[in-house]
């Protein structure tokens, strides 16, 4: 056995080594999701699943205005969140990549630090800021911009703000690693040929980091579309999204076929985004 290589393989056996975790994922990830997808094609009568195969669940969700509105709301909220994440993350990532500040490591750390807090906790902070007795409402009143308390909650835009905040660290991470991957001598070459800093940025850095931008947008989009806590806290019945609808289907309405169908739409959306991502060569976040 001397020189045979992998010591872990020698001890446990290469087959078992792969089979054990693979079986775990098969049993607790692949099979459950496959069953859930199957359920989305099953008819349910009086909240009991039958064995009848049907497309009814999907046609129902996609034609009934209240559900279609929720699906479309999830899409535009996610698209807007993705754009805002890129708009805010890019300047911060570019600054972090190019600064000569000796606290650079610490600055990167604190930009990513919000990931340490649960989205539930961070969204609570936004509720305090945005609610009708909150500081923004107070400010608006103080400057006589609004007569009564300013009502910002519940609203779709509040959900966008909360999601943008929740997903910003992922955006910074993705774009930072894209900018770090650019060879700095390209920028130096542009500058030495007479381009100023702005022009160098627009013609060299920005085009070369486009995969990072696409990656950050798609990651924020796919995480927003399935987010539950933020729409549950900052939204209300009038701003229901796909995730909150699924929650209602499975809890108060106890309708597994519609819940599964909505979950299936969510899965297809996320897979589609993944596909688009790999087609345009988007960078994946390293976390």
């Amino acid at each position: 056995m001397i020189g045979a290589g992998d010591p872990a393989g020698e001890l446990i056996g290469p087959r078992l080594m792969v089979a054990l975790p693979a079986a775990f994922l098969l049993l607790f990830f692949v099979i459950p999701n496959a069953f859930l997808l199957t359920t989305s094609f099953l008819k349910s009568e009086d909240q009991v699943l039958t064995n009848q195969v049907t497309l009814q669940n999907f046609t129902y969700l996609l034609t009934k205005p209240i559900y279609l509105t929720s699906i479309l709301r999830s899409f535009w909220i996610s698209a807007l969140t993705g754009m805002l994440v890129v708009l805010l993350a890019y300047p911060l990532a570019y600054y972090l990549a190019r600064t000569a500040n000796r606290w650079r490591g610490l600055l990167i750390g604190i930009a990513l630090a919000p990931l340490l807090a649960s989205v539930v906790v961070r969204t609570y902070g936004w509720w305090v800021i945005l609610n009708r007795d909150g500081p923004i409402s107070d400010l608006a009143r103080a400057f006589a911009l609004s007569r009564g308390p300013l009502v910002l909650l519940p609203s779709s835009l509040a959900i966008v703000v909360g999601l943008t905040h929740a997903l910003l660290p992922y955006g910074v991470l993705t774009i930072l690693s894209a900018i770090n991957g650019i060879n700095p001598s390209l920028e130096r070459a542009a500058m030495s040929l007479g381009a100023n800093r702005c022009r160098t940025f627009l013609t060299v850095t920005l085009p070369l980091s486009i995969h990072g931008i696409a990656g950050a947008f798609l990651l924020a989009f796919s995480l927003s579309v399935s987010a539950y806590a933020t729409p549950a806290i900052l939204g209300g019945p009038a701003t229901a999204t796909m995730a909150t609808r699924i929650y209602d289907f499975l809890t108060s309405l106890d309708d597994w076929s519609l819940g599964a169908a909505m979950a299936a739409i969510l899965i297809v959306t996320t897979m589609l985004i993944l596909f688009v991502g790999s087609a345009v060569g988007a960078r994946r976040a390293s976390l």
Binding site: M1, G3, G5, D6, P7, A8, G9, M17, V18, P21, F24, L25, F28, F29, I31, P32, N33, F35, L88, P91, L92, I108, G109, I110, P114, L116, A117, S118, V120, V121, R122, Y124, G125, W126, V128, N131, D133, G134, P135, H165, N180, G181, I182, P184, F201, S226, Y228, A229, I246, Y247, L250, W256, G259, A260, A263, L266, I267, T270, S286, L287
Partner: protein
């Protein structure tokens, strides 16, 4: 250098946006009034006293135990899979590699629902609560532990192991004294990611908790339906301190940060 100053100003504004809700939450927790107000009215520790009530400490310790156990299991399974994927060629290898990242691609919310359904169908209600949560959390943590372990294994020169073998070391000696020490920081980074992923999760947990066996995030989420008392702010700050302290300790001993930021930088 005018554009650069403008950029600095924008970066500062983004930092303000990042910290606004966290600062607000922290200040609300010291508020004296009955409402979650900002700026806070007066100063009081009453919400902190309430946050240290068993009603909140119980889900907090529950989440810590859950995160620790899930992170350890995910690390062990992730190590096995990483060794298998990096060191061996076998049919279906690409499929297994894709599968190992699957839980990152599909929404965790859906994974939680799917697990709930399969447990329902199998009729094993006994698994609800802690066991079901461990399973769900290991599933969503596995991509992190597999990836960090695989990256460290790839970065490690196989020659060192060969050298140890040729000097007469047994596989267990090579594993414990050569391989594992060399991939330690990557593996540990994976464990820390997994712990934090588990501790801050609500998506996969949402449908798998039961009364008396609920994570801190799901407990807070459930409580928000009844109102936004400042107690939640204190609880929120506590949940923030735990992972921060953990990162500080781990960073001190293992320099995990190098693993995260160190790679991918030119020059």
């Amino acid at each position: 250098m005018k554009p650069w100053h403008a950029l600095c100003a924008v970066a500062a504004a983004v930092y303000l946006f990042i910290f606004a809700p966290i600062v607000v939450t922290a200040s609300v927790s010291f508020n004296a009034g009955n409402l979650s107000r900002f700026p806070p009215v007066g100063f009081s520790l009453r919400w902190w006293r309430e946050a240290l009530d068993p009603r909140w400490l119980q889900p907090l310790t529950f989440s810590l135990e859950l995160a620790a156990i899930s992170a350890i299991i995910a690390t062990l399974l992730g190590l096995l899979l990483a060794f298998g994927l990096v060191r061996h060629r076998f049919p279906g290898r690409d499929l297994v590699a894709t599968l190992s990242l699957g839980p990152l691609a599909l929404p965790a919310l859906v994974t939680g629902i799917a697990l709930l359904q399969i447990l329902n169908m199998a009729g094993i209600d006994a698994l609800y609560g802690f066991p079901a949560l461990v399973i769900g959390h290991v599933v969503i943590c596995l991509p992190f532990t597999v990836r960090t372990a695989a990256i460290s294994l790839q970065a490690m020169p196989a020659r060192v192991e060969q050298a140890a073998y040729s000097l007469g070391a047994t596989p267990i000696e090579v594993l414990l004294r050569v391989t594992l020490p060399l991939i330690k920081s990557g593996v540990f980074a994976g464990t820390v990611f997994a712990f934090i992923q588990s501790f801050t999760d609500y998506s996969v947990s949402l449908f798998l908790t039961k009364p008396g066996a609920s994570t801190i995030s799901v407990t807070i989420l459930g409580f928000l339906d009844y109102g936004f008392t400042p107690t939640l702010a204190s609880v929120a700050v506590i949940t923030l301190i735990v992972p921060l302290a953990l990162i500080a300790i781990v960073q001190h001993y293992f320099r995990v940060g190098d693993f995260i930021y160190g790679s991918g930088r030119h020059g």
